[in-house]
Every structure is written in C-alpha cells, then in structure tokens.
Amino acid sequence: MKRITVLLAALALASASGAVSSQSGERQALREALDFAKAKIYPALVNISVVSARFSSGRTTRVGGAGSGTIISPAGHVLTNYHVARDATRIVCTLTSGEQIPADIVGDDPATDLSVLKLRLHERKDPTRPLPFAMLGDSDRLDVGDSVIAVGNPLSLSSSMTLGIVSNPRRVFTRGDEIQEFDFGAGSKTGMFTVWIQHDALILPGNSGGPLVNLQGEVVGVNTRGGSGYGFATPANLVKRVVNQILTFGEVRRGWLGMSFLPVAKLDRETGALVATVDPESPAEAAGIRPGDVLLALDGQVADCRFLEQVPVLYATIADMPAGKKVQAEFVRGGERLAVELTVAPMADFVGTEEELTALGITVQNITVPMAREHRYPDTRGVLLTGVRGGQVFEEAKPPIRAGDVILEVDGTAIVDIAAFAATFAAAREQNKEEVGVVYRRDREILVTLVKLDKDKPRKPGGELPKAWLGVNTQVLTPKVAQALGLEGRRGFRITEVYPWTKAHAAGFETGDLLIAFDGEPLKASRPQDARDLRNLVEDRVIGETVEVTVLRGGEEKKLEVELEESPASALDAKTAENETFEFIVRELTFMDRIERKLAKDQQGVLVTEVASGGWASVAGLPKNSILMALNDQPVTDVASFRRVMKEVEDSRCPVVKVFVQRGHRTSFVFIEPDWTRKAAARTEKK
C-alpha cells in the first residue's frame, strides 16, 4: 500500500513537472514572438508631438497634443490618426532611437480618421542614414483569439507595448439599425467605411494613431478608439486603400451615389440592401431610386447586406468607384425588378474649410453640400459664422450677429465662400467705408445688420489723481508699542519702511524713526483709526512743497526737511504694449514693481501682464508676471524698445524666437515657435 502511494506521488510529480515544462515552453515561445514583433515594429514607431490650431470664440488658439504613429516607407511617410494631426501647425516625430524629425501633413481622411505625414528627412543630421519602416499586414486574415500587440505612447509614456487578443475582427458600431459614425473633432464623421478590429490590448490616450501589430511584426491596424478595456483599430487593408489615394492624389477621392442602406435580414431576404435614404440632388435621386427600394446589385456585383457588418463594405465599394463612371443598379420595388443607370458623383468633403479673419474678429466656414443637408440650409450659399471674438467689430454689430448665423451678403455683394467674403471686406476698406451692411440668415429669418470696418482701440482708463507723497510707510505709536519701545506717553508714527530712491530716503529718514511733528504740528496718533492721519496731512499739501518733520531717533529729536513728491504711478497708469502675433501684453516696470519684486533701480525689461490662452506665447510657456529682458538676444529695456525689437522679430520671421525672462530670482529662456504662414494668410488685415 505504502509502495502504491509512493508511486502515485512520483507520477503526480512527474506530471506536474511536465506541465511546468510545457508552460515554460509556451512562455518562451511567446517571449520569442514578442521579441520578433518588437524588433520589427519598434524602430518604425514614432511619438508624434503636435501644436494644432483650433477655432474658438472667433479666434485661433493653439493646443499642444501627442499621439503615436508608424513609419511606413523608406521615404519617411508616417501613418497616424487624423484626430492626432488635424490642423497641426507644427509636428515633430520622435523615433524610438530618440531622433527627432519635423514632419508635414501629406493628406488626411476624416472619414477613416487617418493621416499620412512626411518626415523632413533633409533636416536630419545624416539624411543618408536609412530610415526604419514597418510593413502593413493583411487584416482580413485576422481571427478571433489571434494575439495582437498595441504599440505606442499611452499618456505620453513613450514606446509602450501591450498584448492582447483579437476580440472581434469585424466590429461595427450601430445606432438603431444604422451604422454609427463618430465625431473625432471639427464636426467630421468617422466610421461609415470602417469595420473595426476589436481587441483587448490596453490602449490609452496617446496610443491614437499607433500600430496594432501581429506576432509577425506587421501592422494590422491603426489604434483609433479605446475604452472599457477594449481597443478599436482601423484595419490595415482599409488603411492601404486610403494611403494609396493620399500618396497618389494628396487626398482621398470617393465616389458617391447619395444613398444610405440598412441590412435586409428583417425583410427576410438573404441578399440585397434596403435603401433607407436618398439624398436630394444625388445620382440616386436622379435615377429615380426611392427609400424602400431593395438594391440587389450594383455595377454587376451582388449587394450583400443581410447583416449590418456588411453595410460598410457596400459603402466602401461605392466609394471606390471613380466619379463619372456609369453603373447599373438593379433593385426591387413592390415585388417588381427594376434596373437603372447611375452616374457616380464625387463625394464632397463633409466639413468646409474654416478660417479666422483676425481684423474682423471672427471665424467663418465654407458650407459644403453635406453641411447644408445636415443643417437643413436651403443651399450652400454664404459662409457660416462659427465664432465671434469679444470686443471686435462683428461683436459690436447692431443688431447683433452671432455664431451659427449664415452670412449671405456683404455690402450688397452675394457671398459664395470665404474668399469672396474676405475680398468684399477688403474692397470696402479700400473704399474707406466706415461700416457695411451684412445680410444673414438665422433659422428661418433673413436679417440685416451693420458692421463697422475698424474697431476703436480701447480707451486709456485714466491715470490716478497725483497726490503729495512722503516716501515712507508707518505704524501708529500706540501706548503699548510706545511702552515696548521705552517711550511711554509718546504719540505719533513709527517709520516701518523708507522707500529707496525717494526724497525721504535722501533726506535721511530711517526705519525706526518716530515721527512726532509735521511742519511744527504735533502728531497725536495713538489708536488704529489714526493710521491715516499722516497721509491726510501730506495729501492736503502740494506736490513739491518742502515740509519739516520732527523725528525722534535714539532719544534725540531731529528736524528733517523733505520735499513732498508725487505719489508713484500705479500699474494702471503704466505704458503697455500688446503683441497680436504672439498674443501677450507687457507693461513698463513701475516704481512699486521694483519695490515689491525687490528689483534694482536700474532693472531693465518689461513686465508680462497677460498671456492669451492658446496663443503662441502661451503654447511656448511664457510665464505671466515674468520680466521680459531680451528677445533673440536683443535687450528689451522698456515698452518702446520692446515694440522695436518685436517688430524686427516679426519682420525677420525667424522660426524660433528666444525670449529671456526673469521670474522671481531665477532667469530662464522661453522659445516661441510661431507659424508665420498663418499670419500671412490673414486676408482681411488692415494694410
């Protein structure tokens, strides 16, 4: 019996050891597979740092952002998400080697949320050095359970890798029975053509645009969405089509027939696609197709949309048709089989171009056909007012005009797009008009308002009434303070501070002096409410008047003559300068700035009082309340020199502006990297 037990134990041990050995082997195999994939993908991975322009409240603001991308060609093409690179004014890609290379947008496609960038290889230290790149794999071969790796820079934590499995290689998001599209910014829609790869490799903000990789190190998707433990990647085979179009045309060209579809499973049909919508003025409408028709075949191919997952494939098929192509559509209406010919039209951009017109203080957008359809505008005439900047001419229009209104006419001229709109205002300026009439549509109403062409600069808020001033601070000599100082029974004021560089300082006043008489009149302050008595006495005098102040110092009375000077100018009275390009305001250093900040009398520079959020200075991190002392190594001594040096900087259009600042006791540098091209594009600027 004992022998049997020992044998069983030995068997169990042998079996366990076999299991351990097998697990260890699997782990080793996985480790090797990951190493292989990592070796393939890591060199091609980039961390993308962008500064993007956003339109908000009638102005352009800049925001910094980060995402991931993959180098996909030896020529330096980088694949990423549209929502990462959208409206970027500056893009810098950092390779896993640490090399940083600036990049430009080649083209983008909001419908699939993809962008293709091009690295500025000529700006590399060694442009001849070969560039690593990754290969795009076949996403159609992915199956549930396949291991996949998400690689990227989640939360800006560079070069991170997470492992998961494919949860569903053909995920379609639905709203009711329709394909759900997503707005990843700027009002564009993503998802109509996408059958997503759903996986559980952890992705977080910052992974966007990064690769989803198979264990062969091939890019099988672009990570685009994540949440609740799942990631969703745009499949590589769709990516390939988009990239090819962008590299060929600089844009994605799609065919359009003007129909939306639903699956036919609920109609108890095996094949076909139920026509849900027919857009007005579309090829489908022209061909007489109606909602309720069941499309059977298109251009000779069976319309196979029994399930919703098949609908994006049909949309992609139509999108792949070149504009102008004539295609046969076969369909069923009320049991009758019909056939019509349609001419494929080009698919219009969903979102129109948006621009800031700085001199008018507004942002406007061209109206596309899809926008007009969505907003139910009668047509695409005019420009959409998307934002009005406070305090600028449009904001002061009477009656008021606001974001969401469509501007139809300016100064009697019909507006077709932004270019026409800007040109009309420029023409009115050239004719020295003071204001123009603007006709606009708000909901169903057509309204007229008047807009001034120039805005008066804000008025100076006025300086402080000059008053006579003795350059000292004091405290009341209360009985207890007097007793503590051994001066029982004394009344008056004790000097707590003598301001440097003042006439009081020059006259020999010292901290600790007791002021006991003012021009022969005894000072009787002894209670807190007497604190203002000395100031009242001084302010009742005339600036420049000489007074005699009796002080008690070391037990001895001294009479000091001092000329009353003008009270120091307040910050509100200081000269200011606003730089509209970098969007910050400075003012001259006042006497009290020097005192409060413990600055030297001859401290040069200007005080940064305001840095507009989203402006170039803000993006660079120019600190408010710092003292700006030099720009591009040119000293800034005061407001006048700030203006002069700033003008030189703007004229030179240097790519990086080096700003020397002091904050507290520390000096530092801030590097502003503006986008001069956008400023050049401000078409309604005053000449």
């Binding site: 406070g390 305090g391 008025r459 100076k460 808020p461 006025g462 009434l465 203002r532």
Partner: protein, 253 residues
C-alpha cells in the same frame, strides 16, 4: 370724562400744529424745485461701454450713470465705480474701457468723452468731453470754489436725471446731514446714500459738496457709509483735472 376731554384737547392741538408743519414741507419742495431749475443743466447722463473677459467668455457691458459738469471746458465729475462696475459674485472679469458717451440735458448729440484722472481715494473720476469747444455749446457748470458749509441736521438737495428712456427728466432728492466724521478723513455723514459725485446743495441753493462713500480702513471692519465730501476738498483735484484735460486724451498704445 375729564381724561377724554384732555385727549380731545391734545388731538385738537396736534391738528392745529399740522397746518403749520405742512407749509414747511411745501417750502422744501419749492426750494428744491428752484434748485432743479437752476442747476439741472449741469447734471449730465453718462453711458460707459466696457468689454469684459472672464476666462473664455467675453462680451460688452454698458453702464449708465450721472455726472456733474465742473468747468465750462467740459470737465465732468462722475463716480469712479462706473469704470469698473462689480459684475456678479466671485472673481471679477477683466474690463477694457471702450467708450464713454455723455448727453448734456436732453440734447440729441451724444458727446464722446475720455477719462482724465481717477481719484480712488474718494471713489471719483474726472471725464472730459472730447473735442469740446466752449463756443460749440454753452455749458452750465457747478463751481466748487463757491461753496458753503452745512450744519448737522440741515436738509440738502441733490439734483438728478433719469435715463434716456425717460428723456433724461430732471428731478431731486432730499437728504439730511446726520453727523460729522473725521476718520479716516473729514466728511459729513448723510442719512441715505446719494449718487456718488453728484453735488449737494443747501436749501438756499448754495453748494455744499458732493456725494461719496467712505469705507473704514481698519482690519476686520468692512463698513461703508454715505457721506458728503466738502467742496473745498475737491477744489485742488478739479484744478489738477482741468490742467490734465487740457493735454488731451491719452490713447492706449
């Protein structure tokens, strides 16, 4: 019965005293009316246009107030608060002065005006009609060098104007001096707050000073009281403001 007779007697006395008091009230009204007639042309209506910015929100705010012309050159004394009105609770927005418009009496013309000086000590500001030439329009003004002292208990008349919607109708209010204060600075306490900056007159029509507010400067005491600043206190500031106004408007750069 005797008591009842006594009560009747007292009531009869009261009734007999009433007709004597009523003419006194009429007298105040009559005198105030005379002051309105004589002085209301110096009281102007002011509209201040400010741009505000609070975080990402911005817009325009218009504030209406009244002021008094204090020199024939078009110098106006007005409340300082109109340039930085308190807007709601919490952190205050950043304000930029865009325009000041002044209507003299109920003229059609709106004068542009600019800020000459601010007297934060008294909560007053001096405005100047822009491009004003005395030949353009004869202005009635209040001369602060010609003033009298009012006694505690004395009634004072303030001349005011309603806004545009009421065609700038002039009217008056009556206050009474109820005390003298010396701290934080000398002023006369009045029984109710009046419009800061507007002049106050004795019933004989003599100028006393202007309405103001004094705040305690002691820590922990945030009390404020309506006062009248003596006209003498304002003579020098008006002189300074007049000189400064002659230099013209300081534009922002």
């Amino acid at each position: 019965m005797h008591a009842l007779r006594r009560a009747f007697g007292a009531a009869a006395l009261c009734l007999a005293a009433l007709p004597a008091a009523l003419p006194a009230a009429d007298e105040v009204g009559k005198r105030a009316e005379g002051i309105v007639t004589a002085r209301s042309a110096a009281i102007v209506t002011i509209e201040v246009v400010l741009d505000y910015k609070r975080g990402e929100r911005s817009g325009e705010v218009k504030v209406n107030t009244r002021g008094v012309i204090v020199a024939d050159t078009g110098l106006i004394l007005a409340p300082l608060e109109v340039l930085s009105p308190r807007m709601g609770q919490g952190p205050q927005p950043e304000l930029k002065l865009q325009a000041i418009r002044v209507v003299v009496e109920s003229d059609e013309k709106e004068w542009e005006a600019f800020v000459v000086l601010k007297d934060t000590l008294r909560g007053l500001t001096f405005l100047q009609l822009k491009d004003f030439k005395p030949a353009d329009r004869k202005l009635q003004w209040v001369d602060f060098t010609k003033a009298a002292k009012a006694q505690t208990g004395e009634q004072l008349v303030t001349v005011l104007r309603l806004a545009k919607g009421y065609d700038y109708a002039p009217h008056f209010s009556v206050n009474r001096i109820v005390g003298e204060i010396t701290k934080p600075r000398a002023a006369q306490l009045v029984d109710a707050a009046g419009p800061v900056g507007l002049p106050v007159f004795r019933l004989d029509g003599q100028l006393v000073g202007c309405h103001g507010v004094l705040a305690s400067e002691l820590a922990g005491d945030s009390s404020r009281h309506a006062v009248v600043f003596p006209a003498d206190d304002l003579v020098n500031p008006i002189k300074q403001a007049r000189e400064k106004a002659a230099e013209g408007e300081q534009k922002t750069e």
